[in-house]
Amino acid sequence: MTPARQRALTVGLIVVGVLIVAFFGLRTLRAFREFRGHRPPPPFGRGEEQQAQTDVELIRDWMTIPFIAHTYRVPPKVLFEAVGIPHKGNEEKSLTRLNEEYFPAEDGRVLEKIKAAVLENQPPVSPNTPVPSAP
């Protein structure tokens, strides 16, 4: 390798390295702050002792209705009824896909309806239930 190429490679690596460190360093710092702001919930027990999630802000578009029903301890039938769609054939579809199929003109409608239905139908909160995180 010629000296000019060696110099270019060295400078290139240092510049790219600094850029990557700066980019991911800031992101890591931000993620770390967020990470420390949340304490992990107490370890869940098995079976009947297992606690339900209560924070509806953790519901995401990729989730399916049976998954949300399981996580938040709300009967799936209640959630399907709240959205106004049939249970059959929709169990494996994400909220995004349900929204695209049934409400293409209204972005995020299924997600909002699911959040509202979960809040209305959650089982009573026990003292050990994880507390919803601050917005």
Binding site: V18, T28, A31, F32, P40, R60, W62, E92, S133
Partner: protein, 206 residues
């Protein structure tokens, strides 16, 4: 992409999780580390069985790594023809051979962006397959236990862990690139200084 895959892991469970890790090990951008953290959370929620998920996942990723090692191995002839005679390639091969085990182990869970290049280099440099698989299995098991364990611990808040882990991996990669660049710079400066000293000695004093 990641969202679609998460939905399918919920629907199809451990076999689909194993398929994602297999594709990730072949270099497809499937966000495998995110999936491992998420799988840990799904285990905590009783959606997945931890023994089946961990063992199928490990099987999938090891199979993918073996194939990418094989791709490097079969490209060896071409690489040898192209670069085999150059001293730089021989140096790189020797350097890799002396630290290969650690490189394979650490790139499985700490600097995952370098896992595929490491597999290809290991295969192409004539590194022994059995040795590669031993370090590979140890590294991938660490990855699944560490990331999956964090997902299990944080449960439904697993996205925080995943976000932190992926950014931290990027930061480490940047530090390595910066370290290699600085090392090359220092080495080059030393070579130039030595050359200057030699030239001074050669020039007769008037």
């Amino acid at each position: 992409m990641s969202d679609f895959l998460l939905t399918q892991v919920i629907n199809y469970g451990a076999p689909f999780f194993a398929l994602i890790l297999f594709l990730g090990a072949l270099g497809f951008p499937v966000g495998a580390s995110v999936m491992v953290v998420a799988a840990g959370a799904f285990v905590q929620q009783d959606l997945l069985d931890w023994k089946l998920t961990a063992s199928l996942g490990l099987l999938g990723v090891l199979l993918g790594d073996a194939i990418s090692f094989g791709m490097g191995h079969y490209a060896k002839d071409w690489v040898d023809k192209r670069f085999g005679r150059t001293p730089a390639w021989k140096n790189a091969q020797d350097s890799f051979a002396s630290r290969a085990g650690m490189a394979v182990y650490l790139t499985r869970f700490l600097i995952t962006a370098l896992a595929i290049p490491t597999n290809l280099i290991a295969g192409g440099s004539g590194y022994r397959f059995r040795k590669f698989m031993t370090y590979d299995a140890a590294g991938e098991a660490t990855w699944i236990i560490l990331y999956g364990g964090l997902g299990y611990w944080f449960g439904t808040e697993w996205e925080l862990v995943s976000n932190f882990a992926s950014n931290f991996g990027g930061l480490l990669l940047g530090l390595i690139v910066l370290g290699v660049g600085s090392w090359l710079g220092v080495r080059r400066t030393k070579v130039i200084e030595t050359r200057k000293e030699t030239e001074k000695i050669k020039v007769p004093e008037v």
